[in-house]
């Protein structure tokens, strides 16, 4: 019985490792997320695949939205306003590619957990 337990644990760990490796390979082929700015405090009804949409109300950045990079189809909305908890900060590198800090962790559904750095997804 103990052996079966150990084997099951090992298989689960190997599966997770391979999943991560495959996702990592996939991320190299994915074009980087690019920033699109929309006017107003809210995301548009449809967030295009591959875009990080920034809702800018006047001179205030309210939120960013993106399709979940796991492919589940869900739109993720992250608040940037300082009053929000949790909140994220958005930065752009010289090439204009967006980074988010800290990481993004969906509470339900696909439970994706990733970083967006320089437009690219790093799975944790």
């Amino acid at each position: 019985m103990i052996l079966i337990d150990i084997a099951a644990k090992w298989i689960r760990a190997e599966y997770a490792r391979w999943q991560k490796r495959i996702r990592g390979l996939f991320e190299r082929w994915r074009p980087p997320f690019r920033l699109q700015v929309v006017d107003g405090d809210s995301l548009p009804p449809v967030v295009p695949v591959g875009a990080l949409v920034l809702a800018r109300d006047g001179n205030e950045d309210w939120c960013v939205g993106m399709k979940c990079p796991c492919g589940c189809g869900r739109t993720i909305e992250l608040l940037l306003i300082p009053e929000a908890k949790p909140r994220w900060s958005l930065s752009l590198d010289p090439a204009g590619l967006p980074s988010l800090s800290p990481s993004v962790f969906l509470r339900d559904g696909c439970r994706a957990h990733f970083w967006l750095r320089g437009g690219r997804v790093t799975w944790t």
Partner: protein, 366 residues
């Protein structure tokens, strides 16, 4: 006809009482020594002299104004019968919600129209104006009835509006709970949301479901909703502490998390080492973080499992047990002394844990 019968039943020279008002419609009881007064007698009782073109109107319960000629006997049924007496040579016609009224003066205020037509307070009085947007008539607004044509008033429900995300909702009441506004706009309040109230020229405000939004607030814009479905990967699964606390905990090397349990907020450090002399070497240490922390103090501390001294003796003021996330914690009723009250500017998780360590050491060093 009933009125004449009623009048006829009264003794011949008895006094009767009626209600008389001027154009303000503030009725006062006036006595007349004649059970069957004429228009002229009522005018005299109201102290409008015959030379001043007295104009007597009977004010019926439904608001209708019926002119009584000077020589005409006024039908009187009751002490509450009301008459409007003024001096005018003609009446001006107006309509309120289709009902016609003849008003014995050129000007009428919104308040008078409301009294005349018996308009409920929660309705708004409007005046329809040709070729222009209709106007709201406030109580103090004067309307000139001499303008050609019949002035048409109408009433509307006062409605209050707010945007919920991109949906405009209306409310008949000037305040609305966030929960109700969300329901009206088709958002499920049972789901977790970040809810921000935006008012032009004011800082945005995070609000809860039971917050009453005052829709009369100038510049009120919208309730901005964001699904609360994403954690920021570093924040555990409960709530954020102060930046200084998170930095302190990060460098402490402890495994820690924040937990919401039945509306109470807890910081739990899973492997908190104890000084020797207790029944355990380490505990899960829980601190209750009040909603208004750091304004409100962190008080006492809670440990799991329940501690005894190593020799089996009980520890004073630790009898109370509570559960956090299904685990039983022992409450250590230890409080700040008079000499060192909580200071929101200085005190935080780190300073509180120094008091915790002090309290733990005292138990084993005695």
């Amino acid at each position: 006809m009933t009125s004449q019968n009623a009048a006829g039943n009264r003794p011949a020279n008895s006094t009767i009482t009626i209600q008389i008002a001027g154009l303000d419609l503030n009725f006062k009881a006036v006595s007349i020594v004649d059970p069957t007064p004429t228009g002229a007698q009522i005018a005299a009782a109201a102290e409008v002299l015959p030379d001043n073109d007295p104009f007597v109107l009977r004010f019926l319960d439904d608001g209708e104004l019926v002119p009584i000629l000077a020589s005409e006997v006024a039908p009187i049924d009751d002490v509450n019968d009301r008459f409007v007496v003024t001096s005018a040579d003609r009446a001006f016609r107006l309509k309120v919600d289709g009902e016609q009224y003849d008003w014995p003066a050129q000007y009428v205020t919104g308040k008078t129209v409301r009294k005349l037509a018996g308009i409920a307070n929660d309705l708004q009085l409007m005046l329809s104006v040709e070729n222009e947007p209709d106007t709201v008539i406030g109580n103090r607004d004067l309307v000139d009835l001499a303008v050609a044509g019949v002035e048409r008033f109408y009433t509307v429900h006062e409605t209050w509006k707010i945007k919920v995300q991109d949906t405009v909702i209306q409310s008949d009441l000037p305040t609305i709970k966030v929960r109700d506004a969300m329901n009206k706009a088709g958002f499920d309040p049972a789901q977790p949301w970040h809810i921000f109230l935006k008012v032009a020229g004011q800082p945005k405000q995070e609000v809860g479901l039971d917050f009453d939004v005052d829709l009369r607030t100038h510049g009120i814009e919208k309730l901005r909703l964001t699904p609360r479905d994403v954690n920021n990967g570093e924040a555990g699964n409960g709530f954020r502490l102060l930046g200084v606390d998170e930095a302190f905990l990060a460098q402490s090397g402890w495994r820690w998390r924040t937990v919401l349990d039945q509306g109470r907020r807890w910081l739990i450090i899973d492997d908190y080492r104890l000084p020797p002399g207790f029944s355990s070497t380490a505990v899960a240490m829980a601190l209750e973080i009040p909603n208004t922390y750091p304004g409100a103090q962190i008080d006492m501390f809670y440990v799991a499992p329940v501690l005894l001294l190593a020799n089996g003796n009980r520890i004073g003021a630790t009898e109370t047990l509570i559960t956090i996330g299904g685990v039983t914690y022992q409450r250590w009723s230890r409080h700040r002394g008079q000499a060192s009250p909580w200071n929101p500017k200085i005190d935080n998780v780190r300073t509180h844990l120094t008091l915790v360590d002090g309290a733990l050491s005292r138990e084993v060093n005695q």
